[in-house]
């Protein structure tokens, strides 16, 4: 899919809404968002807590479907994808990093990083090399056999970066990647993400509430307030 329409932007949304019903009230978590992110861009989604930035990120990740509007990834509408196609999109086109790392605690680092390869049905013989390569890129090649609980927060987030990387996706979606880390470790993680953006040409969309981080790393910023874009990706 990534190369199916090379002239299309990485992501483009048109009047996307995501409404929830809570009792009789309708919560407009995302309300008519239209944006376009070019391939290889590093953008930040900023906003206060409850502004809808994580909901928007989930929509872009194909984890959730919009109530209305369209989301095009490399020119293909996510809304028209079947469940299995959407799973494939999550597996091969996007990689996700979460605030709470979301490594499976019972698995070793190697097994955690191998998981996306299993789901993508990558040949067994190719897996070890790819896991090794991904962990090496984040400086954890020597910690293959460790379980997440045996690692520091920074190391866990690096492992989750390796996991997001292992299927060689073109888009990296990061949801508050430094939220659980001290500023020095957070900076280290951000440097890795920046490296992926520059060296691998990955499109990065980062959700954060820290304007400082966004200013330092992202080329464009989108501010969300009550589900609406208040600044439409003005270049910094």
């Amino acid at each position: 899919m990534p190369d199916s329409q090379p002239n299309q932007p990485a992501l483009r949304t048109a009047d996307v809404t995501r409404h929830y019903l809570m009792g009789e009230a309708t919560i407009r978590a995302v309300d008519g968002v239209t944006l376009e992110i070019a391939r290889g861009e590093f953008v930040a989604l900023l906003g206060s807590s409850g502004s809808g930035k994580s909901t928007l990120l989930n929509l872009l990740a194909g984890l959730d479907r919009p109530t209305s509007g369209s989301i095009l990834a490399h020119g293909i509408d996510l809304a028209e994808m079947s469940g299995n196609e959407l799973a494939k999109y999550r597996s091969l086109t996007v990689g996700m990093v979460f605030q709470s790392f979301n490594l499976l605690p019972r698995m070793t680092l190697e097994e955690n990083v191998e998981l996306p390869l299993r789901l993508a049905e990558v040949e067994r013989g190719d897996r070890a090399g790819r896991v090794q390569e991904a962990l090496k890129r984040v400086g954890l090649a020597a910690r293959l056999a460790h379980r997440p609980a045996e690692l520091s927060g920074g190391e866990q987030q690096r492992a989750s970066l390796a996991r997001a990387l292992v299927n060689r996706p073109t888009i990296l979606l990061a949801d508050e990647p430094t939220g659980n880390l001290d500023s020095r470790t957070g900076e280290e993680i951000m440097n890795f993400i920046q490296q992926f953006n520059k060296d691998l040409g990955m499109t990065v969309i980062m959700v954060t509430h820290e304007a400082r981080l966004a200013e330092r790393y992202a080329a464009r910023h989108f501010y969300l307030k009550d589900g609406k874009l208040s600044t439409n990706g003005a270049a910094q």
Binding site: N58, A61, L63, D64, G83, N84, A87, K88, R90, S91, L92, M96, F98, S100, N102, L104, R106, M107, L115, P116, R118, L119, A120, E121, R124, R163, N167
Partner: protein, 474 residues
């Protein structure tokens, strides 16, 4: 996801909650064990009873008589086809007032018919039952008793499985098997043990039939039918020495049980002895020119073929009967019995399957977040469903295998206890517990099927989890 990855992930998940999954699997094992135990009891009992009946010689035989059973003596049914003209004619001159065995048959059981019957499929042997009164002489005294012929093929029917000593060494051997009653009488008189008789030579005195040459002066009244003459024979005492090779006890009832004879001799030997038979008298007045049997017994290779053979023989115009119907009714009773055992045995497995549902539903709650992560990393609903399904299947497989062993063990234990009791009561030990290979396979397959069915609901529930909500769940 590929099958191997599914199996690895399922195995890992099952190991993680070891205690709970082990208990659930043990529940399935107990269910399968109860099923296996119940059914193997049913199968074992059925096999025991059917085996007993078969070794009684009643269920693998068809008895053939010259005329259809229940047919009238002067009736025409069956006799018209293929019957020989000469004998056919004799039917028309049936003498009123003669006992049935002296009535000319509608279609005689000649040696040609015997060969024809023996050539039919699934037939082990076709033999007449020759019987005569004999005087067994040993140690200077005699015992008048009955002797009967035993076909050499009877060796394989189970009737002589419990023989002390051995069966005849050959079809034509000068050997005898004695009934234990007779052996006991001889032993009491001679002050030795019955078993000492094995290997001893005894003399059997019997009434021998000797043919008479054609009468020198033919009388008009000698012409019986078709211009032939009744020749007649003389009866005289004859001796034959035979070696006692075996002793049998118990009472074999019915036509297949050698009629309660106390001396059993190989059929070919008896035929050679030319001992006089009740129906020989007929030859005095009507010489058919060849051997005619009053009845023939057909030994069938398997009781399941009895009905077909019986029908075929009836088609040929002979009378045929077997005790197969009785066996069939008995099999029906066992089927009903087995069905009850199956239902009761399955109850435990049904309860165990609820355990699977419970365990997997608990696993969904515990692994909710993990399912969210899997979906975020690219797992489709189908992958999650298959994962839970595989876990249920693995529990079913392991539970099934364990259950079969457990059920087999319970059976062995009960068999052991029962036989200990039987021996203490001076009874023969029996194998009432039988676990055939098909039951092992069926129990494991059934266990997996029940477990998969139990996994249906949890698996589809896990698959439908909303990944966004699942990821938020800690």
């Amino acid at each position: 996801m590929k099958t191997r990855d599914l199996m690895e992930l399922a195995g890992r998940n099952l190991r993680e909650a070891m205690l709970r999954n082990s208990l659930t699997t043990l529940g399935i094992a107990v269910g399968v064990a109860s099923l296996v135990a119940m059914l193997s009891l049913g199968i074992g009992l059925q096999k025991l009873v059917m085996g007993r009946l078969q070794s009684s010689g009643l269920f693998d035989r068809v008895y053939v008589t010259p005329r259809p059973i229940g047919g009238s003596l002067s009736g025409r049914g069956g006799g018209g086809r293929g019957g020989r003209g000469r004998v056919q004619q004799s039917e028309d001159v049936a003498t009123p007032g003669l006992p049935p065995q002296l009535q000319p048959p509608m279609k005689p059981l000649t040696s040609a018919v015997r060969k024809q019957l023996a050539a039919m499929p699934n037939i082990v042997a076709v033999f007449p039952e020759l019987r005569f009164t004999a005087d067994l002489r040993y140690g200077g005294t005699g015992h008048v008793t009955s002797a009967s012929s035993v076909p050499f093929d009877a060796r394989g029917t189970g009737q002589f499985d419990n023989v002390t000593g051995s069966f005849f060494s050959g079809a034509n051997a000068n050997e005898a098997i004695l009934h234990m009653d007779l052996a006991q009488q001889l032993a009491d008189q001679g002050n030795f043990k019955p078993n000492d008789l094995i290997g001893q030579e005894v003399t059997i005195r019997y009434p021998q039939r000797k043919p008479v040459d054609a009468p020198p002066n033919q009388r008009p009244q000698d012409i019986v039918a078709n211009g032939e003459f009744g020749q007649g024979f003389t009866i005289q005492s004859a001796d034959v020495k035979v070696k006692v090779v075996g002793l049998v006890s118990g009472e074999s009832a019915g036509p297949g049980g050698f009629g309660g004879a106390r001396i059993m001799l190989p059929l070919e030997l008896v035929e050679r002895l030319n001992a006089v038979q009740g129906f020989d008298v007929r030859e005095v007045v009507a010489n058919p020119g060849e051997t005619i049997y009053p009845s023939l017994t057909m030994l069938i290779d398997n009781p399941n073929h009895v009905q077909a053979v019986e029908d075929a023989v009836k088609q040929m115009g002979f009378g045929a009967f077997s005790l197969f119907d009785a066996a069939r009714n008995l099999q029906l009773v066992f089927r009903v019995f087995d069905s009850f055992l199956l239902v009761f045995g399955s109850l435990a497995l049904a309860v165990a399957s609820l355990g699977i549902v419970n365990t997997l539903v608990m696993a969904i709650l515990e692994r909710r977040h993990e399912i969210g992560v899997l979906k975020a990393l690219g797992a489709a609903d189908r992958d999650v469903r298959q994962l839970f399904f595989t876990e249920a299947g693995v529990m079913g497989l392991v539970g099934g295998v364990l259950g079969v062993f457990l059920g087999w063990g319970i059976g062995q234990l009960i068999n052991f206890g029962l036989n200990k009791w039987l021996v203490s009561q001076n009874l023969t030990p029996q194998k009432i517990w039988l676990v055939p290979l098909w039951l092992v396979a069926a129990a494991i397959v059934f266990s997996i099927a029940v477990s998969l069915a139990a996994g249906l609901y949890p698996a589809s529930r896990a698959a439908k989890l909303d990944p966004v909500k699942a990821l938020r769940y800690e």
